[in-house]
Point group: C2
Chain length 515, copies 2
């Protein structure tokens, strides 16, 4: 047994049995070891951003880490943006990054780079294995790091000789996983007192608080106290739909946040931090807690959010179930212009139960949550770190994690181009994913932001930097070029027909919606 | 005038007048400033790897830096792999990376990351501007850093408020650029003595030594001493073809290098370091200088290679011109199998004078140098850092730098997928680029390397990680999906006809060669 084999066996023993991979020469022994182990599933991505984004989507739905396999510093570099998004999502992940053999690094061969330096900004835990004999233990520690609540990015750098040299037989035993931070009685008391005050109050939630069973507890708290229930704008995963306690999503722009939070006197944080503006704008506030509003942290991201919500409900004697979203779908749209609103209406009409919606629709997605609030129960995943190019890869990972559920990938055309290679993996793995491309042929959000940041009236050169026409992208050809069934919708009737059939059939399919 | 405007004006004053860009909200004032300045050309990339790879290709051909515009830590992360290649090419480059406003960083908004940490592994110089008033000076220093011989990656991080706040009128003056390291008389004497010894000797060259006029001096040295002339395997740029002194390229695999260097007693390094194996392999050497061969460094990468070669030629009294490559083209192939050899033959038959060949053909390109050695003078650019996905972007940059020259991009299918978005920029800018995709539908080099590293016989799961079929990529559709004229060649006759017409016409065009 060599180091690579001991590592793969350790990963599988610890429950890490999917590896999203884009390997190179320095990872060949690891590839051979993956091949040897029938319990490890391998999924190839044609670009590393696909690999790390897929591992993020997988972790959000599976609740446990996938491994990634990346090729030296530059390969890790290509994966960094989606590691950033995953880090912000608190997704557990174990990256295995190949490195030159330990004795080879001194020669500074062309692919040599400071891999630890590349890893550190987007990883919670970084280690370079020193000897084949230590690789299994390093792997076990990487898994422990990844599973440390609420989820961490662990990056294990594997020099080629630590992969190919002999190692002790067998896997390292899984290490005990640290528990979530326990409930803080003072925090519960403070939150309970605030909610009993009768002053306007909200719960602002993220993380596990947004799972169905925890939302039910939050619903009891709301029913007992009149508190509003909110989530952060961008969340890793929320369970929503008919029969589930609904929450209001904080809007994207700061002035909208100020509007919905006006008059609130108590903000109870559950697995999150006080709201801040996504970007800074001249003369506008960064910190979005209203003046006179007191912030109470019931539990941080690392806390046991389920127990904290239960403790708060107990303290309040909140036993009555809260209001849940009623079952209500929009009627399928019949005519009118094909635009984000009519698209949202059609999706609301046809979204199947158990769907996983991966939302990177940017400006085109603003109308989607209300149109789907009464659909059958489903999960909604959003872009947590703001680095576009996460949606298509995350859809891959979610579909691998949940093969029996339909994945609906709502994708802005500009964002989709960053990691367009993900379509190929969807086809290779025959994943049950419907991709809707919102083809407005511009970076629409940037055209809005250009004005909001107070840049002067834009000239043609600036506008050309925010514009995706000239030439137009043909998403049907792009998808077909990667073997994917694809169609274009230019009218409401076309979109409605196409999305209905796509959501009913199984397998990968793309719809380009020209809006 | 705001900070962004002072920076753009400073860049233009210093001769940096092309900006490859993929901006976001935090860069909107810089975009407005680009728009304001008629002397700055802006080129949009739909992914940051396109942006940094284009700046690399531009620098190699223009001999001066382009600017890039990137969006915070993740945007820079997406550009890192091609920054790595550019760093290894010693290409000058000025990256401008937007950052949150200085006062906004404390709130840890979703896109916040350690940008300096991301930049450092792939940059020679990193700075975060502190005040709008200092941005112009920071920009001038970034240009100086980029132009410090032999060329450096300078990364200037621009917080949004340093871009939008008022700054003093006007540009900062260009700073004096450090000179290349002067000739070392001892090094010249040592090299001259070695070459006079009569023992087998070679010059191993890289960097500016591979420009036509310097190759002529190397040719005189070879003629006077019998020394062999070699280049590193992967070079940023070499001028070659009929009438130019030719050099032998070191082969890729270590055992081939050992073979061609067998018996050499003196290795004179000109702008490079002793050869090393690209990767480590169990039981094979990393260091490829033959036993008993003495290494003499005439000049390092930072040296004045032209002056060093002249000094060496003078010391040797080498006045007679050396042998140059004769004018000789292969005949266009008429039949036989379409494969890398017949493709090389067709390209050799039709390559126009002044062409710029961007070679990322990987295993398919091994036969290309001999087939083109006697073509009219042209430049050859190769993948210096080993991180695939550089070829298509570098072709963009080379075409922007040299609008009157034909760019021929030789691209492996696996490599091309990493930064396939570059095709869109070729069309938008109507660049005179012919792309040839070598569609062997596998990571062929990895299938070779899998065996070479001594991994055991590969099973189907391992082979599937090295295979690009299932589904096949259709490059004609991919290209057309980005508005590019494209065709497929499956026979020698088809390829020959298509490449002849593509190299004669102007504008972007892609040929998928099924091999």
């Amino acid at each position: 047994m060599n180091g690579a084999e001991s590592l793969v066996r350790t990963l599988v023993t610890a429950g890490v049995d999917v590896c999203f991979a884009n390997p190179g020469t320095s990872e060949m022994h690891f590839v051979a070891a993956l091949d040897d182990n029938p319990d490890m599933r391998c999924v190839l991505g044609l670009f590393e951003g696909v690999v790390t984004g897929a591992a993020d989507g997988y972790a959000r739905m599976a609740g446990r880490p996938a491994a990634t396999l990346l090729h030296l510093g530059p390969g890790l570099g290509n994966g960094l943006a989606n590691l950033h998004n995953a880090k912000r999502a608190r997704s557990p992940m174990v990256n295995v990054v190949g490195e030159h053999a330990t004795y080879h690094r001194q020669y500074d061969a062309p692919l040599t780079a400071d891999i630890e330096g590349v890893a550190r900004p987007m990883s919670h835990w970084v280690r370079t294995s020193r000897f084949a004999a230590e690789v299994a233990r390093d792997g076990a520690e990487a898994v422990r790091a990844a599973l440390t609540p609420p989820g961490q990015i662990a990056t294990l750098i594997l020099p080629a000789d630590t992969a190919w040299n002999p190692a002790p037989e067998g896997a390292a035993s899984p290490l005990p996983i640290p528990a979530a931070a326990p409930v803080q009685p003072d925090a519960v008391a403070s939150a309970a007192a605030a909610l009993r005050s009768g002053e306007p109050a909200i719960l602002l939630m993220n993380g596990a608080a947004l799972r169905r069973e925890n939302l039910a507890v939050a619903g009891r708290i709301a029913a007992a106290t009149g508190a509003g229930l909110f989530s952060d704008t961008f969340v890793a995963r929320i369970e929503r739909g008919a029969g589930i306690v609904g929450v209001q999503r904080l809007p994207y722009f700061g002035e909208q946040v100020e509007e919905v939070l006006a008059g609130i006197r108590h903000m109870i944080l559950v697995g999150t931090r006080p709201p801040v503006s996504f970007f800074a704008y001249p003369g506008k506030p960064s910190h979005l807690v209203p003046d006179g509003c007191k912030v109470h942290s019931l539990a941080g991201a690392e806390g046991d959010l389920s127990a904290a919500l239960e403790a708060l409900a107990d303290a309040l004697g909140a036993r009555e179930a809260g209001a849940v979203a009623p079952s209500a779908r929009p009627a399928p749209p019949r005519d009118g212009e094909l635009n984000p609103q009519t698209i949202a209406q059609a999706i609301g009409a046809w979204l199947p139960e158990g769907a996983i919606v991966v939302d990177e629709a940017a400006t085109s997605g603003f109308g989607m949550p209300p149109a789907t609030a009464g659909c059958p129960p489903h999960d909604w995943l959003s872009l947590t770190g703001g680095s576009i190019g996460q949606g298509l890869p995350a859809a891959v990972g979610a579909a691998v994690a949940c093969p029996d559920r339909k994945v609906l990938s709502l994708e802005a055309d500009g964002s989709g181009m960053y990691t367009v290679q993900a379509l190929w993996t969807m086809v290779r793995e025959q994943l049950d994913i419907t991709v809707v491309i919102f083809a407005n042929r511009k970076y629409a959000i940037l055209q809005v932001e250009f004005m909001r940041v107070g840049a002067h009236n834009p000239g043609p050169k600036a506008m050309s930097m925010l514009d995706l026409s000239n030439p137009n992208l043909d998403w049907v050809q792009l998808a077909q070029g990667m073997g994917m069934e694809a169609s274009r919708a230019t009218t409401v009737a076309e979109f409605n027909t196409q999305i209905e059939s796509a959501l009913r059939q199984r397998g990968p399919r793309l719809i380009e919606a020209l809006i």
